[in-house]
């Protein structure tokens, strides 16, 4: 043994290197194999140990995702409301009408009426036949007023008739609802329009101010289809159009009730006659 030990330790360097390399190469596949086995065991061990932790983490992440999704939806809804409120505020500032904001608290349960219930009533100064609108356009008018709530007849109801006119062509007519209303597809129609009037699809219809309920120049909607195109005008007294309301009546949550004209605007609109004491250079 001592002899072998002495031989090995006294081998010449190049030869010793070759032996070392040979043995190294020979054992390489075993090392690789063992290394892989070790890795696999190590991975399995980690996995076994972390499984319960991962499950808990997964549950927590799912909860967080669900919470964040809820928040995102909330933020989207708040953004939408914010946009609406800003538009309403801008409209309230810019219009000459004195407006009272109202929240929609209910809809008509019947299919034969298109009405809304809003949270403003007699105590808020609301009376019958007041115009109801949003920043986008006309919604309807009040028909029943209780102490703390009012019922609003929508423009898509057949019983609601508004005197309207198309600014582009100067065409006048009566806008009324139709029975195909109720829900998202609600429409109006404009009747008693001069049969020779040239009206294009998309033309915007405004209130004419006649009738005493609706102020002038409130947007009602736009012409969606013209009946006269497929009818012989010689046999008709007037033509009719379908009108798509400017306001999405199925989606509104807040409206304005026009309770009158702003006092300041009224003063501007009706200048006071000059009195004898106020003549220029009178002093």
């Amino acid at each position: 043994m001592l002899l072998v030990l002495l031989v090995i330790t006294n081998l010449q360097l190049p030869f010793a290197e070759r032996v070392k390399d040979f043995l190294s190469d020979g054992f390489h596949p075993f090392l690789v194999f063992m290394s892989r086995v070790e890795n696999t065991f190590s991975f399995l061990k980690d996995r076994m140990q972390g499984y319960s932790g991962l499950q808990a983490e997964n549950t927590e992440l799912k909860r967080e995702i669900s919470e964040l999704s809820g928040r995102v939806a909330n933020v989207s809804e708040l953004e939408r409301q914010n946009r609406e409120f800003r538009a309403m505020l801008d409209f309230k500032k810019s219009t000459e009408l004195k407006l009272v904001s109202a929240k929609i608290i209910g809809r008509d349960p019947s299919n034969w009426w298109n009405t809304l219930l809003v949270d403003r009533g007699k105590v808020d100064g609301i009376v019958r036949d007041m115009p109801v609108l949003t920043a986008d356009g006309l919604v309807g008018k009040t028909i029943d007023v209780m102490d703390n709530s009012s019922r609003v007849l929508l423009i898509v109801d057949e019983n609601c008739r508004v005197s309207g006119w198309i600014k582009d062509s100067g065409t006048a007519g009566i806008v009324e609802g139709n029975i195909l209303a109720g829900g998202g597809g609600a429409q109006c129609r404009m009747t008693f329009v001069d049969r020779f009037a040239q009206v294009k699809t998309g033309a915007r219809v405004f209130t004419s101010g006649l009738g005493g309920i609706f102020p002038k120049d409130l947007l009602i909607g736009s012409v969606s289809s013209v009946f006269a195109g497929d009818r012989n005008l010689k046999n008709t007294l007037y033509q009719e159009f379908n009108i798509t309301p400017a306001v999405d009546l199925a989606r509104i949550d807040e409206v304005f009730i026009g309770v009158g004209v702003k006092p300041v605007e009224r003063v501007k609109a009706v200048p006071t006659p000059p009195s004898p004491n106020n003549k220029p250079g009178g002093h």
Binding site: R107, D108, G182, G183, G185
Partner: protein, 172 residues
Amino acid sequence: MNRLFIPFLLVLAIILLLCAQCTFVYRFPVWGAQAQLLPPLLLYAAFTLNLPTAVILGLLASAMFDSFSAGHFGGSAIPYVLSVTLFSGVRPIFFRNRISTQFLSGCVFGFVALFLQWVLSGKVMVGLHVVLPTILHLSLFCGVLSVLYFTVLDFICRMVGVDPGRFEEATP
């Protein structure tokens, strides 16, 4: 207590369904029209309670419905009470617990109630050809709702030990 359970349950259901109908049901139109939730419930009342109680429930439902609607007060009373009376009268010849009976009765009850509501709403100028498809669609939906109501309400009744099919035979 047991005798009063079903009427009270139905009063509660009328209030809840009507509030739901006024607040969010319009967002889920059935074939383009607003679903009517009350007629199937009144059918349940007609098939479960005695005639006077069912009629009183019909009147209550009608009063509440009309107070939320723009139609004149009492406009729904005749449709509801007439339908309840009709179905309460023919109840002995029907097998109440069969799904087919519930569905078909719901459809017919819905049609009678909705058609009469339309006739009495003062909007007959619109034309039957426009209204009839809507009424038919809603009647079909009433049939579906009837099956649902019978299943759920019967289940609730049995949970508290009341057999809705035998309510009439209960000793006073």
